[in-house]
């Protein structure tokens, strides 16, 4: 997967000073402003940006599929055709666009399962591309669809072709979408966050596939992503966008190793490194185990969501629990806070077995272990002020109304928001700010243990860095013990003292961070680390 050496070919898709206006009343006048880019054959251009950077609008513009209310205001978008010369895409009618879409420019979507018709077999959906553009005959299309499925390295193509999307995994669906995009050998492939919704191992396979497309079919690939690790692995060239503008463009080497713009530099610096840093112990921490889990398990009917798990966490340290979806890490987290009932086992927090208590004793013991959640938008009651939410937690911990209010205000300040935010509702805050509120809420009960369930996965990388720093500061100050659930090995490498790797409901490896990252023992851990994108370059 090493970046290819650039061949000086003329660009196949050329963007010059392109601007797309937003309707009146939006927070800025342009969705994208003055963007100039070239896409060349047999090259992967990665467009990187955080949320709101306009990268998705750019890809929609290139397919002539802008949402209602948005229009190209100025600039050029030109597609080079050997036979027809240069086609001005900004002036194309909808009818003409239909001959281009799928045929000359194709898109690989972000959510593969949602992007397929749920009531049609996937083989037929691939055949549809031919049908739309009048290629082949109804008799020859199925064979061609099968050939494409085989090319995607999918085993048992006949069975796959006869399946409905919900019968396939996310990774398989994405490969079907790629097969659909590839069907008519388009010159340009636009991939809009194609691996964001996939597991790390599926992601690695899909990335490999895309690189093959570049090498074998010599397609120009525009790859949109927010994940710099992915960029490091597959990009030939990189374009950095912020708030609708192009910040910097260059080769992968240039951008990653010698970024010139401050935004780019900050962006790269914010990415957690794979090198585990030595961690200073928290001062004044009482030695001993804060959390002891013994034989904790959960079975739903016949499914073993969590096989009996044993682990211990030293006081004022961080344990990262790493795994892909279905590994049981979320089940473990929910068992620890007694959100679901354990089938067996114990979970002792500073001497109190949360898994066994009931009634008032349980309610009191709950104070010791609190959680911060993944989705900043669903984790706060939209009808309540943020201050009220935090104060309620303090009240439940035994404070009076006044004490609770005071504590809430103090916590708001401590997490980096101002006390004046007390009366405002969650809708007034950004994702990162809401996560801070979530942290304040969790801390209002003065817990001993904090469970962070994928708490930074939904955040932009720069915001993520801030939240992780905040958590570390709080740990140093309050002596918090943290269990951090994540699928991102980089985050685990940066913030934890020890790492537990989970798979299919059991802990396959548990060791200190440095050992896991640098000298993994279990084959699954090794595979996980090997699949993590961008290990060499960032």
């Amino acid at each position: 997967m090493s970046p290819k050496i650039m061949t000086p070919e003329p660009p196949i898709l050329s963007v010059k000073s392109l601007s797309v206006a937003l309707p009146a009343g939006a927070d800025r006048p342009f969705a994208i402003h003055d963007i100039s880019l070239d896409l060349r054959p047999a090259e992967i251009l990665c467009v990187v940006g955080e949320s709101g950077s306009g990268k998705s609008i750019l890809s929609s513009t290139m397919m002539g599929a802008l949402p209602r209310g948005l229009a190209i205001q100025s600039g050029d978008l030109t597609l080079s055709d050997k036979a027809l010369g240069d086609i001005d895409l900004t002036a194309l009618s909808e009818r003409a666009w239909r001959t281009i879409r799928g045929r000359r420019i194709a898109m690989i979507p972000q959510e593969p399962m949602a992007a397929l018709n749920p009531s049609a077999k996937v083989g037929r959906q691939i055949e549809e591309v031919f049908a739309i553009h009048g290629r082949l005959t109804p008799k020859t299309r199925p064979a061609e669809a099968l050939r494409l499925i085989k090319e995607m390295h999918l085993p048992d193509p006949e069975r796959i072709a006869a399946s409905y999307p919900h019968q396939l995994s996310g990774g398989q669906c994405q490969r079907i979408c790629i097969a659909m995009a590839l069907a008519l050998s388009p010159d340009v492939l636009i991939a809009d966050e194609p691996t964001t919704a996939l597991d790390v191992t599926s992601q690695a396979q899909v990335l490999k596939l895309i690189c093959e497309l570049r090498d074998i079919h010599r397609q120009a690939v525009l790859f949109i992503t927010h994940d710099l690790g992915v960029v490091a692995d597959i990009a030939d060239r990189i374009a950095v966008m912020e708030k609708g503008r192009l910040v910097e463009v260059g080769t992968a080497e240039q951008i990653l190793k010698h970024p010139r713009q401050p935004y780019t530099q900050a962006l790269i610096a914010a990415v957690p490194s794979f090198e585990p840093k030595p961690r200073a112990p928290v001062p004044n921490a009482k030695p001993g185990h804060c959390l002891e889990v013994d034989g904790l398990s959960k079975t739903y009917g016949r499914t073993r969501a969590l096989k009996p798990a044993n682990l211990t966490v030293e006081r004022a340290t961080t344990l990262a629990v790493v795994g892909e979806s279905g590994s049981g890490k979320s089940t473990l987290a929910r068992l620890l806070v007694r959100l679901i009932e354990p089938s067996d086992g114990t979970a002792v927090v500073n001497g109190h077995d949360l898994a066994r208590l009931r009634g008032t004793a349980l309610r009191q013991a709950r104070r010791r272990i609190q959680m911060i959640f993944q989705d900043p938008f669903g984790s706060l009651n939209p009808r309540r002020s943020v201050g009220g939410t935090i104060a309620r937690a303090a009240e439940l911990a035994g404070c009076t109304r006044q004490e609770a209010e005071a504590r809430a205000k103090a916590l708001l300040e401590r997490v980096g928001l101002s006390a004046s935010a007390y009366a405002r509702r969650p809708a007034a805050f950004s994702g990162g700010q809401r996560q801070r509120v979530g942290i304040a809420r969790a801390l209002a009960m003065r817990p001993d243990v904090l469970i962070a369930d994928e708490s930074v996965s939904a955040l932009d990388v720069s915001v993520q860095a801030q939240v992780l720093t905040l958590l570390r500061e709080l740990q140093m100050e309050l002596g918090l013990t943290i269990v951090f659930i994540t699928h991102d090995l980089r985050v685990a490498a940066q913030i934890s003292d020890r790492v537990a790797v989970m798979r299919s409901g059991e802990i396959v490896e548990l060791a200190d961070t440095a050992s896991i990252i640098l000298d993994p023992q279990h084959p699954y851990t090794r595979a996980l680390i090997a699949a993590a994108p961008g290990r060499g370059a960032i």
């Binding site: 959100l339 349980l362 609190q370 959640f373 984790s379 706060l380 009651n381 939209p382 939410t389 309620r392």
Partner: protein
């Protein structure tokens, strides 16, 4: 707030408001005694003996139609509102419990709701009213019985969905009592769709009460009942259309107002969610 100044909401609220005011101030507004027989089958606009005008004409027994319409607004507004409120009390409580706790409570309550919902509405009313006799209270009971399951279903689905949200999980982890979770965390987040449903349900209830009156199963005579007025005037409608047209317009305008209000509130809610 600006989302709520839509024409549908304004017109709807206006229509409903007019009828509510008419119901409240009926004695002040009605030109005649609705039960008093004066000139039978007078045309709209005919003069009344002893002064005044029969603006909408009189019915078979000589009673002023306008006055009967005005007074007739009272039982319609009062019974619809009362019935819908009681249906809501029952339906919301049951729905919250079923949606939040799930499992046996949900299965049992849902089964009960489905049983009641298996009755075509009017058939249910007929059964209840034949058994209990026609009276305002029995109408309220019948309507509550028939509407509560539908409210239950809506609230149950909303509660079951909201239960999945992380802020409910947070409340549980903090040791919040189930009572407070149901009524302080979950219910306020359901007020949007419930307000819309409330307006619609008021409309359905009004239609049903009108239909009951039309079938002669509503309020006993001589009480002014819009549906009943249509029933009484039906035989002579060919020659005297005013007997039936005006009560139909009255009930249609009230329900139209409620429907517009519901639709407008729904759209305003969507617009608010998109815009903010």
């Amino acid at each position: 707030m600006k989302h709520f100044r839509r024409p549908t909401i304004l017109i709807g609220a206006g229509l409903v408001g007019v009828w509510v005011l008419v119901a409240l101030f009926a004695p002040l507004l009605a030109p005649f005694d609705p039960l008093k027989s004066l000139t039978p089958l007078a045309s709209p606009g005919a003069p009344a003996p002893g002064g005044g005008t029969f603006w909408l004409g009189t019915d078979l027994l000589g009673r002023d139609i306008l006055s009967r319409l005005i007074y007739g607004a009272r039982p319609v507004v009062a019974l619809s509102t009362l019935a819908t409120l009681t249906a809501y009390t029952v339906g919301v409580s049951a729905g919250l419990l079923a949606g939040y706790y799930g499992r046996w409570i949900d299965t049992g309550l849902s089964f009960l709701a489905n049983v009641i919902l298996s009755f075509p509405v009017l058939v249910l009313y007929i059964v209840v009213i034949v058994a209990l006799g026609p009276s305002p209270i029995n109408v309220v009971i019948a309507v509550t019985f028939a509407s509560a399951p539908a409210v239950f279903r809506i609230v149950r689905t909303i509660a079951a969905d909201l239960k999945q949200r992380d802020f409910i999980a947070a409340a549980v982890i903090q040791g919040e009592s189930a009572w407070r979770i149901l009524f302080i965390e979950i219910l306020p987040n359901a007020t949007g769709p419930l307000t819309v449903d409330f307006c619609l349900r008021l409309g359905y209830t009004t239609i049903i009460i009108g239909a009951l009156g039309f079938l002669g199963l509503g309020l006993p005579p001589p009480a002014p009942d819009w549906g009943g007025m249509v029933n009484e005037g039906r035989a002579l409608a060919f020659a005297f259309p005013h007997l039936v047209i005006f009560p139909c317009l009255a009930i249609s305008s009230l329900v139209l107002g409620l429907s517009l209000l519901a639709d407008g509130l729904n759209e305003a809610r969507d617009a608010q969610a998109r815009g903010s």
